[in-house]
């Protein structure tokens, strides 16, 4: 266990939560993007909603090793495992005058639900705040420790 581990754990939490916020913002920004990805046949696919998958890093080698030798060190902060695509079907809207409308006049729109994104955003904000509080608390304690023997 290093000296500033508490700060590092909180920092990893801050990074992860900010990434969640970035991804939610990206989803919101692309709520109407009909041209998200170019398919191999030259057609455009609408933007797919992205999701952040978090992991505790307990499966890392360091963590397993610490567990094996039974140390008080099975703490690893948080890490982002992957950014996943939401595979739910696209929304279909009848809009024949749209440049990306199909033969039948329907346009495929991204599977982004603003409501879901707002909930994610709120959750990320709150978690971010909790991590900031923990970081400040740890900082205060380290500063206090410097006062020993003054």
């Amino acid at each position: 266990m290093g000296m500033f581990d508490a700060l590092n754990f909180s920092a990893s939490g801050l990074t992860a939560q900010r990434l969640r916020m970035d991804v939610a913002s990206s989803n919101m920004a692309n709520v109407d993007s009909t041209r998200g990805r170019l398919l191999e046949n030259g057609e455009w696919e609408p933007y797919r909603r992205k999701m952040v998958v978090l992991g505790s890093g307990e499966s890392s080698f360091k963590s397993m090793f610490n567990k094996a030798v039974n140390q008080n060190g099975n703490l690893n902060g948080v890490k982002v495992s992957e950014i996943k695509n939401d595979e739910t079907p696209f929304k279909s809207v009848y809009q024949p005058d749209h440049p990306d409308a199909g033969e039948d006049g329907f346009v495929q729109l991204p599977n982004v639900d603003p409501l879901k994104e707002m909930v994610d955003l709120m959750s990320a904000t709150r978690s971010y705040e909790a991590n900031v509080t923990a970081l400040n608390a740890a900082k205060g304690m380290y500063l206090k420790a410097l006062e020993i023997g003054r």
């Binding site: 266990m1 581990d5 508490a6 700060l7 754990f9 909180s10 990893s12 939490g13 992860a16 939560q17 969640r20 998958v53 978090l54 992991g55 505790s56 008080n72 099975n74 703490l75 690893n76 902060g77 948080v78 959750s123 990320a124 709150r126 978690s127 909790a130 991590n131 509080t133 923990a134 970081l135 608390a137 740890a138 205060g140 304690m141 206090k144 420790a145 006062e147 020993i148 023997g149 003054r150």
Partner: protein, 128 residues
């Protein structure tokens, strides 16, 4: 005469170590507040009686019952807390309360250890 290794000083040191580890545990829990399947951890102080259980040894080669470990706290998984839909059982309110408590506790310990040092300083200076 042991100036710096008095029982009080040793206990304060140990408590400071435990408090620092507790802070790490809380930080880790809060970092993993949205991690699916994460189980909250806590730092527990071992009961004092465990160390007082010393075997009466008639020979130096006999084993003592308690191994005198320098640290008497460890990290374990929290049990019996409510679980989220994603298997995460971090209780943010509880962690925040623990955080505040631990911070005050740490500051108290630092103050006490400073008081101890000041007493020694006073003696060294001959009360001047």
């Amino acid at each position: 005469m042991n100036l710096f290794s008095s029982p009080v000083m040793k206990n304060l040191e140990m408590a400071l170590d435990g408090s620092a580890l507790k802070q790490k545990t809380i930080s880790n829990n809060l970092a993993n507040v949205d991690t699916p399947g994460y189980k909250a951890k806590e730092t527990v102080f071992k009961q004092e009686f465990e160390r007082s259980l010393n075997a009466y040894r008639t020979n130096q080669q006999h084993f003592a019952f308690s191994t005198d470990r320098p640290s008497s706290f460890y990290v374990k998984e929290q049990g019996g807390t409510t679980m989220n839909h994603n298997g995460n059982n971090v209780d943010v309110d509880k962690e925040m309360a623990e955080l505040a408590k631990n911070q005050l506790y740490y500051q108290t310990l630092v103050q006490r250890i400073n008081g101890k040092f000041n007493s020694i300083k006073m003696v060294v200076k001959g009360g001047r």
